[in-house]
């Protein structure tokens, strides 16, 4: 019975969702014309679609998308790896955390994207400054979540392992590391969307590759449809990154009880 009502709920939700999408696309196509909004402000859906085809053929859209996706992937992987490692180290050493916390806090408050021009000064118009901004921006949510998770492990659980004469390494790999998985994945989800922000800002500031570059290029030519195409592609890249994290999370955290409505959000 419960499954029946849940299936019905999901079905109703999916139908409503598709209806909303159709309504949105229709509003995009005919809304601007009906409200008298000029097409250089909000181009209708059809002209964005036409521009998409043109960008694919003339402006090397696949190349720019690929470059951005690769930068996002590199920045996300390195940033989360670094964030997790520092999170575990600080989580296991309260002294290190106390010593470093003011600097970490300062760096966390500093808007990471503001570093983009600096990194371009350092490394030129290459892919590296973009990856570096992504690393910096992904680092914090992952590190903070891992740190908090390690700090919040039930001390009785550690005592249980200690009473079985567990070594420090055994306590880490059998208790602390697996305990930190759910919060770490929460951090990775946030990180996967932030990585796109970091990369785009890097590309906006300098270089001649990537969707961020295409964005400024379109802006310079007053080509509003191209700006929209770039935004849609960026959303797609971010969405795929988020989806990949969710799929890995499902596999790793398979032991958790199924969550309620809207499981994957």
């Amino acid at each position: 019975m419960v499954n029946d009502t849940r299936a019905a709920l999901v079905r109703r939700g999916a139908i409503a969702s598709i209806f909303l999408l159709v309504a949105f696309l229709a509003a995009w196509q005919w809304g601007p014309g009906l409200l008298g909004v000029p097409s250089f402000i909000v181009p209708p859906l059809s002209s964005v679609a036409t521009e998409f085809v043109r960008a694919w053929q003339v402006y090397h859209l696949p190349l720019h998308t690929g470059v951005t996706a690769a930068e996002v992937l590199a920045g996300f992987m390195l940033g989360s790896l670094l964030g997790a490692m520092v999170g575990y180290l600080l989580g296991m050493s309260p002294t290190a955390e106390l010593a470093l916390s003011p600097y970490i806090l300062a760096l966390q408050i500093a808007p990471k994207v503001a570093f983009a021009p600096l990194f371009i000064l350092w490394m030129g118009f290459t892919v590296y400054p973009k990856i570096l901004v992504a690393i910096l921006i992904v680092f914090f949510p992952v590190m903070v979540n891992v740190l908090t998770a390690v700090r919040n492990v039930d001390p009785d659980l550690i005592n249980l392992a200690r009473a079985f004469k567990a070594s420090r390494a055994q306590i880490f790999w059998r208790i602390e590391f697996p305990s930190s998985m759910p919060p770490m994945f929460a951090g990775l989800r946030i990180g996967s969307t932030l990585a796109v922000v970091g990369v785009v800002v890097g590309e906006l500031v300098g270089g001649n590759l990537g969707l961020g570059y295409l964005l400024t290029f379109g802006e310079g030519q007053a080509n509003t449809p191209l700006v929209f195409v770039s935004i849609v592609m960026l959303t797609l890249v971010g969405g795929i990154a988020y989806l990949i994290v969710i799929l890995i999370e499902r596999r790793v955290l398979h032991y958790l009880p199924a969550r309620g409505v809207g499981r994957n959000i």
């Binding site: 200690r162 009473a163 059998r174 009880p257």
Partner: protein, 269 residues
């Protein structure tokens, strides 16, 4: 008299007080011993240092003065002869029931095959065999506590230290779990120190009951439970002497005159 398995010799434990520089004495000059295959209960008011004694016995915290001995050897740290079980089941959510049972033996480095064999035997004994592949969140509170007991027994300890193991489950489940524990302890000839707030639990499960005073905790009385059938707590509850023992313990704890402590006081122990 048989061999002494667990002994506390003149154990005193002081903690640094968080409010001022002074030290807070949790237990003072506690001495007692538990013999082989004997079950001894420790009762006393909240904050009298019962759990502190358990931590000292399992080697997790060294006492300020005195020593604990297991099998005649001074406890200097965690050791394989002692295993403890708490009110919380402490099951690892990412491990299946069988994997949770083998947690301790795995750490102690037993071959995987032997670990699995022990888990299967214990789970069969506790009628949990069909759940061995389940995850803890799929079990009821009573079943989870039974898995925790199986994990404690899997390392085959000489001494079990039990800190209010059943206080988080409902009254009926508790009686079933008490019976399971009593039968297991009897069959395996295990020595156990049981900390409890439940006077009936102390009387039905133990050979002896030790009564502790308020903080700083000292042992103020020792009652030998002269009832048969230590492996059948439900039968013991029906025994004519049962109510007398409980009444006596109530008198010793002065339960009629104890004012309720402020919330949180003594909660650290």
């Amino acid at each position: 008299m048989s061999v002494v398995r667990l002994e506390y010799r003149n154990v005193t434990m002081r903690f640094a007080d968080s409010n001022d520089a002074g030290a807070l004495t949790a237990v003072r000059g506690v001495s007692f011993s538990v013999h082989d295959a004997e079950v001894v209960s420790l009762i006393g008011p909240t904050g009298c240092g019962k759990s502190t004694l358990l931590n000292i016995g399992s080697g997790l915290t060294p006492p300020s003065e005195g020593s604990a001995f297991v099998d005649g050897e001074r406890v200097a740290g965690p050791n394989a002869q002692v295993a403890f079980m708490l009110q919380k089941d402490l099951l690892l959510p990412w491990r299946t029931v069988a994997e949770n049972v083998t947690f301790g033996v795995e750490i102690q480095g037993l071959p995987l095959k032997e670990c699995k064999r022990r888990a299967a035997a214990l789970l069969a004994n506790f009628k949990l065999a069909e759940f061995s592949g389940h995850y803890p969140h799929q079990l009821s509170g009573g079943m989870r506590q039974r898995v925790a007991l199986a994990r404690t027994l899997a390392v085959d300890p000489h001494v079990l230290l039990l800190d209010e193991p059943f206080s988080a489950v409902d009254a009926q489940t508790r009686m079933v779990l008490q019976r399971d524990l009593a039968q297991t302890l009897k069959q395996a000839n295990k020595t156990a120190l049981l900390i409890t707030h439940d006077l009936a639990e102390a009387v039905t499960l133990s050979d002896r009951v030790l009564v502790m005073s308020r903080r700083p905790g000292t042992i103020i009385d020792e009652i030998r439970i002269e009832m048969p059938q230590r492996d059948n707590p439900i039968a013991r509850r029906r025994d004519a002497k049962f109510n007398d023992y409980v009444a006596h313990l109530m008198d010793r704890l002065d339960i009629a005159h104890v004012a309720l402590e402020r919330e949180g006081e003594g909660a650290a122990w």
